[in-house]
Amino acid sequence: MMQNIEQKLISRINEHATPLRIMHVCGTHERTISKYAIRDIISEDVQLLSGPGCPVCVTPSKDIDFAIALARSGKVITSFGDMMRVPGTMGSLFDARSDGYDIRMVYSIDDAIKIAKDNPALDIVFFGIGFETTAPSNAAATLRGLPENFSIITSHKLMPPAMEILTQDTNVDGFLAPGHVSTIIGTDPYDPISEKGFPIVVTGFEVLDVLLSIAMVQDQIISGRSCVENAYPRCVNVEGNLKAREIMYHVFKKTDSNWRGIGMIENSGLALKKEFEQFDAVNVHADIYDKTSHEKRASEIEDHENDLYEGCICAEILTARAEPSQCPLFGRRCSPEDPVGPCMVSLEGTCYNWYKYTRNKGI
């Protein structure tokens, strides 16, 4: 039978299989891997680990609580869909919406700005989350000028600092780098990591992209190399999108940032610069922010260090020190219908994808 290119890559990966731990740091990669059951079809020796690549999963509960507190005080919260179900300590944004507060799903900051312009009497707050992929469009909108009744919760995260941390803490041999993030940052920021001896292959999201990048990491390991390679040249180049980064850093500055389940990572987040502070929700609604920070939060969050509910092992999942099936809550107390941990909520969450596509397969 004639093999297609995917099957040729699978054969090749399996023929050269040696014990190897490859981590991706992108929720969409996890989705492709799970949807195509790639872990089942390649050798068990080649382990595909899931890193902290889901922006919703790593958003700290404090930011969610702040958004809900704002909604409770009469502001309109606008948010991307997959943030809606993530529980903070006071439930999720969806819960708050069911309680009657004004929470609206948007597809971009522009939708939120339109709501603000159409409703000048309302206070609109946009929940700005995401990696280097969403930050530039939020920055561009800010530069174009925001309505007076508009503010942003900036919960953006930067990927390379998190990868650096993982090379220290996690047993990993190489990385698949995220295609979307890399269209913005290019491939240069990965050099310091590859120089430490970790092969890195930037790749896209089709099943073919993922299989090709696995084979490329494998090749580097076999030949004893570690460099940054690009398996996604149709979208990514070495320098990335200079214009997008220029706009992003015109509006935002790097700041230390708290990753849910991981903790504080130096220079891994973005904050609005001083000259845009009139749009920073933390500044505009400082009274509510301070109250949320000081209130005795965490009625149910037991694991304060990791910002998680008791028994939830999302911290280990996000850093690939455990697989979802090792979690006592997985599929029992915690499911997409009623998630306990953030990794079960998002379409890009590791637990969600395992639950959705690999649970109880019994093949």
Binding site: Y36, I41, F205, V207, I363
Partner: protein, 353 residues
Amino acid sequence: MSKDKIVRMEHGAGGEAMQTLIRDVILKNITNRSAGLVGLDDLDDGATINIASNIHDSERSDEIVITTDSHVIKPPFFPDSNIGRLAVSGTVNDLAVMGAAPLALTCAMVVPEGFELDSFEKIIRSMNAAAEEVGVPIIAGDTKTVDRNGLDSIIINTTGIGIAYEVIRDCGLCPGDRIILTGTIGDHGISLLAHREGFDLNTDLVSDVAPLWNMIRSVIPIRTIEGKPAISAMKDPTRGGLAGALNEMAQKSGTGIIIDQKDLPIRGSVSSACEMLGIDPLEVANEGKAIICVKDENAEEVLSIIRKHEYGKDAAIIGEATDSNSGKVLMRTTIGSMRYVDTPTGDLIPRIC
């Protein structure tokens, strides 16, 4: 927590939350739940009322089939169609997948104050056109208006009465049966989402909403060599999509189902839009498609008849029922691996990046 004490959007979204609500609140509090072969407990597309068996032909036992559905859709006008065509098609299809010829429809509408009369008339005309297509009269109705603050768009309920000589269930699937899907998946849900959110998909994708009785009628009489009905089960994959409908059929029938990704009819535009939005096309609603499960020996015959029909030209055999993996749906992917096809959890939520 408030979470458990109030109705949430998920309770009406066709996923597990809705099943729980139906089981624990509705079924529990209604004592008389059956008037024939299929009752409320069966949670099928409709129910049946047993009338005296046909005195001229003791082999046949006609059943009256009844179904009802309330339609709310934002916006009420969407690419190539509107809520009127949807309300009639949805009910005709619920009858059709139970093997029932539509006899009559009723229609109850709740209209908010301020709704444009022109739009209202367009909706009624579309209802009529869909009903004419399958020759079903609309014989009773009710119209209420409410304060515009209480409702922001029109709600249409249609009830359909049909007659089936042999009721086809969604639980009749047997191992070895082949599964036919009558056309491309996701057209309705994705065209609606793109229209509502203003995404330009660079295509002329439109909703597939259509009444399917004329197509389904043509395959119901087909028999096996032994003279048994060729069709073992049917369902229309509306809310919850193909994934929801197949899971329900597998669970109710006590079989497994394996489908082949390479055989799934799907338009390129739907496939790319789903990739972009992080939506699984298997979970997207269809309004003009049916899943028809047939005995292996009749599969090609049924397929070729379906394909001759305007609404069935993209039909394909997408999989089969199995002994193993009872109650579960698996998909053989294009790279040869197997993955689980889960019951959708509720509203489709596009991802951010």
